[in-house]
């Protein structure tokens, strides 16, 4: 009896922790702006706006001509529309609130903690199907739709 009670307690706790973790991932789920999808997801997956703080998005949108080694410049109208949307939906959860080095999601404290060497051994990142930490969709099979649930993870061999 006692044992069963403990189990349900543990389960409830686990659910709470997972919910909090999902929030830390990308903040509340926001439908993606079609323009964001069209312009930004042409080259990489549509990273959720909640994955970076407002300061990082502002810096990124102000330097698109030199965007991690490529010219990703946009016309004024698109820049305003996408930039405004990112500011509105930027991460504000405490783990996301600090701008990571080079505004890289993959250098964020929450990202590094969730992808520690025990969870993801260093050799996994080197696999041809992964290649880079920015390639979310290599393991997060539903990343293109903004879903990062643990149950959707499938690490390629």
């Amino acid at each position: 009896m006692k044992h069963a009670n403990f189990k349900s307690f543990a389960l409830a706790g686990l659910v709470l922790v997972c919910t909090a973790a999902a929030q830390a991932d990308g903040g509340a789920r926001v439908p993606l702006l079609p323009k964001y999808q069209q312009e930004c997801a042409a080259c990489h997956i549509a990273y959720l706006p909640g994955m970076l703080p407002a300061a990082s998005w502002q810096h990124l949108m102000g330097s698109l001509q030199k965007h991690y080694g490529t010219d990703a410049s946009l016309d004024e109208g698109s820049l305003r529309e996408i930039g405004g949307w990112l500011q509105t939906h930027a991460g504000s959860y405490k783990r996301v609130s600090e701008a990571p080095p080079q505004d890289r999601i993959t250098k964020s404290a929450w990202f590094l903690r969730k992808h520690n060497t025990r969870e993801v051994p260093p050799e996994v990142w080197q696999r041809p199907a992964v290649g880079s930490a920015s390639n979310c969709a290599a393991c997060h099979t539903q990343a293109a739709d903004g879903r990062f649930n643990e149950r959707d993870i499938k690490i390629p061999r």
Binding site: H44, Y68, G69, T70, D71, S132
Partner: protein, 133 residues
């Protein structure tokens, strides 16, 4: 009746005002425009040369689009799939002037460190149009 006519007039005016934004054209139209702008005939072989060579930077056009862009390419840094560029293999290509111009601007900057001339765009597009099924 009068009301209907004025609504129709507004509709036509709105259509005229919006139509330059849509810019739906064919790849042949775009080639003709670039050729006129360049003031010289396009040369497909020169286009292929430009497309497949590096120009003092890390990437060529082929780095992402492959040397024969009739099939899928892959973004050189993110690995994201890039649909075929040759119009015969992807009917969406070169049907929107603003979109073509945006990608020429960005990608020529990545590959050549400058914008491409109208002549260079005409050469590349004329070569892409030689790639048939």
């Amino acid at each position: 009746m009068n009301n209907l006519t004025s609504w129709a007039r507004i509709g036509i005016l709105a259509g005229m005002a919006l139509s330059p934004l849509a810019q739906a054209v064919t790849p042949a139209d775009q080639l003709a425009a670039y050729t006129t702008q360049a003031g010289a005939a396009a040369q497909p072989a020169r286009g292929q040369q430009l497309f497949t060579s590096r120009h003092g930077k890390d990437w060529s056009c082929a780095s992402c689009h492959t040397a024969t862009p009739t099939g899928d390419g892959k973004h050189a840094s993110t690995g994201k799939l890039i649909a075929p560029l040759a119009p015969a293999f992807n009917p969406d290509r070169f049907t929107d002037i603003a979109k073509s111009e945006k990608w020429f601007r960005r990608n020529c900057n990545d590959v050549l460190g400058r914008e491409c001339t109208a002549g260079e765009k005409a050469d590349v597009l004329s070569w892409l149009l030689t790639l048939k099924r």
